[in-house]
Symmetry: none
Subunit: 329 residues, 2 copies
């Protein structure tokens, strides 16, 4: 039946939040030439012929006048990597453009980088929209990238998960009862991980290195010098030998060196081997983006992070905490 309008605007906001949207930053120049920009989720396409898009700017926004007076503005559809940028342009004050690399576009309005899509517009109409002004613009130019787009749903940032074709077939439902079936998440994680490794393992296996060696050298590319104890704290969960056998072998091959305090450092050869392996690891990822899709890979990353956070027994952080050095030469 629907409730008559609730005087509490939060209830309306919550209901409106059920309609998911992308996130955009709209930019322009004020009459004095200063850059203005705001985060907006009210963007949408309107017309293909002529090509029109719209968004709404709050009358209370500091930059409202600049936008309603501007002849041109650019809409940037943000990618999943631009959450921080979204937050920056959603706040008032300071110089929102500080430190950003801008591009020149077709008009005086500034263009941001790294977006999923961009639309360069000329104001066509400015309509009354209550406490907002609805700006309709003609699209003069546009481009898009392969960066997966950022979403805003139910009051929080989100990533699109392509609708899965039904995973379970009738045959699968029959095996679903079995303890070990091909929907067992542990099997799928293991197979995906080890097939991924299989695709670039030759880069380090040709040097006689095992997966365990690869894990150790990867960690050392971020954290060194490192003690055997710290290494075991980081890698114990992997089940590989952190008792010193691998380290001694790596030392014997002169890929790592041990100092007087028992701390290990990558040698020049060790650095070359691990950089080569990590570059190959990244190349597999790029291949997967091509074959599986950018949105899918972004979604997969996001889900893997949630599994990692849900299963982490309290591991030390790999990045950003504690003593840390750049790889030696």
């Amino acid at each position: 039946m629907g409730q008559p309008l609730n005087p509490d605007p939060r209830a309306l906001r919550h209901a409106l939040g059920m309609f998911g949207t992308g996130v955009t930053i709209v930019t322009a120049r004020d009459p004095a030439g200063a850059l203005v920009g705001v985060t907006a989720s009210s963007f949408n396409s309107v017309s293909l012929d002529p090509p029109l898009v719209l968004w709404s700017v709050a009358r209370s926004a500091w930059s409202c006048q600049a936008f309603t007076q501007a002849r041109h503005w650019n809409v940037h559809v943000l990618s999943v990597d631009q959450e921080a940028l979204s937050n920056r342009f959603a706040r008032q004050g300071a110089d929102k453009f500080a430190g950003l690399e801008l591009e020149d576009g077709m008009t005086e309005a500034p263009l941001l980088r790294g977006c999923s899509a961009r639309f360069q517009c000329r104001t066509q109409f400015a309509y009354d929209g209550g406490d907002h002004v609805i700006l309709v613009g003609e699209v003069l130019g546009f481009d898009r990238s392969h960066h997966a787009p950022l979403l805003f749903v139910k009051g929080g940032y989100a990533i699109a998960n392509p609708r899965a074709p039904d995973v379970s077939t009738a045959a699968e439902a029959a095996v679903e009862e079995e303890l070990f079936n091909e929907n067992l998440l542990g099997f799928l994680l293991g197979r995906a991980h080890l097939l991924y490794m299989n695709a670039f393992r030759p880069t380090f296996a040709q040097h006689g290195l095992s997966d365990a060696d690869f894990y150790i050298l990867s960690l050392m590319s971020l954290r060194q010098p490192i003690s055997q104890v710290e290494l075991a704290e980081h890698l114990g969960f992997t089940g590989v030998d952190t008792g010193g056998g691998c380290l001694r072998q790596l030392e014997g091959r002169r890929l790592v060196a041990k100092d007087g305090q028992g701390l290990y450092t990558l040698s020049g050869d060790g650095l070359r081997v691990i950089v080569e392996a990590l570059a190959a690891c990244k190349a597999v990822q790029e291949d997967l983006v091509d074959r599986v899709g950018a949105v899918e890979v972004a979604s997969l990353r996001n889900l893997l992070k949630r599994v990692i956070l849900a299963t982490d027994p309290g591991l030390p952080k790999v990045w950003g905490q504690g003593p840390q050095g750049r790889p030696g030469s």
Copy 2:
């Protein structure tokens, strides 16, 4: 720099598709009282005070006149279970409302059920929007449910996945340029897989078994008797020793037995150990369904399968092909 407007409207549509949206059905009655309804992704909120929303109807739509003449219309934000309804209302013709249970709302416009949110509106403005008419309505009433909303991104239906917090660092953007950062898919796959293993490894490690032994015994729970050659074909991609060392150790521990033709079979002890380990593996999955969500785990499975298919070098199938026995007793 952006490309000047491409005469191909598909390019513009593809770029516009990077902006994700929810999916709505808007309903009304025509002057004769007949029900009309269309699927629209052009919905958005405009103003909170007064409460205004908008959407655009194509001038070419059969029901355009009905909507522009109607005093009232209802917007239904569709849930993930209403994909079929979205498709039904996106097509022309037939009776779109056939068989649907309708509710009476505050106005003559019909209300559909099972949606994520609904907004009952009175037309406030009808603006020129090129080949569309922009309808702005005052929200007279609204409601929302707990059904997750359906999304439309890059030309396909999608589900929103809440953005996971960073696994290991807050300085994600800063490390993005590094070869090895925490968005490297290989890192995330490995960490998720090995943390998952870590959660049930004790069940087989207490019997002195390694991850490699677990892979071998798991395979044998599905395929036995098995030769060393077949085992290597199945497990070579894992990087574990399939040269016979593991098998000899398992034989020494009387977990597997070798017959006169060199074929291996699980012993009763071997079966007990692997059934216990697989049950623990499944328990971790159930725990993850609780902690991460059933929809998320289903999505993750689906995406892992796509990675597996994209990286498979042509492995023999684990299930459903070739000679295969149930575990011996």
